[in-house]
Symmetry: C2
Subunit: 239 residues, 2 copies
Amino acid sequence: MTEPVIRPVTHIAFLLFPNVTQLDLTGPAQVLSRLGNARIDLVAKTSDPVPTDAGFALLPTATFADAAQPDILCIPGGFGTQDAMEDEATLAWVSQAAAGATWVTSVCTGALLLGAAGLLRGYRATTHWASHHHLAAFGAIPVHERVVFDRNRATGGGVTAGIDFGLALTAVLRGEAHAKLVQLSLEYDPAPPFDCGSPGRADAETLDRYKALVARSVPERDARTRAAAERMMAEPLDR
Amino acid sequence: MTEPVIRPVTHIAFLLFPNVTQLDLTGPAQVLSRLGNARIDLVAKTSDPVPTDAGFALLPTATFADAAQPDILCIPGGFGTQDAMEDEATLAWVSQAAAGATWVTSVCTGALLLGAAGLLRGYRATTHWASHHHLAAFGAIPVHERVVFDRNRATGGGVTAGIDFGLALTAVLRGEAHAKLVQLSLEYDPAPPFDCGSPGRADAETLDRYKALVARSVPERDARTRAAAERMMAEPLDR
């Protein structure tokens, strides 16, 4: 009889901030919770419930002050990213958690927050398609792929890419056979009703609707994102 | 100048119960939160945080006692479904909310809970592939599709099918153009790392691993599900 393999617990911390796109977090959290022996923390500035963009709040399991060092750090995105990347306490915790983490990862515009903490300088990375043009300002090498690995960085595209990211990371950490098992358990055999999930596939009318929807907020968000990138690039590389 | 169209708020209630598969709920909640003018409630027995299967809790926004009548009722699934379908207070609230709802829906094994409340008798429906064989016992007409509509019932397959369900319902409620906009905003252009997300696609080894993983819990779960179906079928049709 062979001895059972005792796998060390994998501690995964997701940053939680107000107005996060909750599926950026809950998608990969569902996948990674099936790594086996994984512990998931949602880490926020305080222990108060954190409002998401979907009309309900998520409850932190740890705060910046008391969170244990994660093996995997994952930063979700959403419209709240903008405020989070201007918040010194948030950037400080992200920098500190990243320094001790085996994997430093993001989903959606969480990549911009990694960028603002100086964590994508010289790394290949992706983000939500509508924010992809900002990656270079943070010193990242922009890649148009759904999930991008570069050394210990892994970044996913917009929102639903977090599921593909979670499965890809599972395959790296636990092997293909386990990742396939998780994919089957989540019945991940997607059947999108339309073929319009990325700008290259969407028709012009859908792209125009999207542009019209965000038009009012884009100039301010672009300016704030550029300013965050400039602040970070003014720091020494080992921030 | 034409008058702006004031759309009535769509009130969407998700049932929240202990050990829910949180992505069954958070996936469609993300999609449906972008209906425009939608209000999302997570309704539980009490206002205490509800533990999910992913290691963190979700916070109810309403309780059975104080929840407003939803337009759309959605029941997620997961291993906690078993206990929930044996809980009289839960079944009573589901029945009552369904009676006044325009849409009565489920994702994953939430269909079995709808079934236990007598809400799928005579309706075409789907559920997680590994529980699909139970649908007939609840008087449902089992359909092997990712999302199934039958009159005012809409049911999705396992876990990640909730995203396809949400988009399909969005198309019905707000039209194809809006659903495409939501799909693009969520960058839903899935790229599963493996082609194994359903039993028809998975290789024999992955299916065997899945069977081995759940083998110990299957007999008890099957027996409890059959018992719930028998209790419901003993009731008059208008329960």
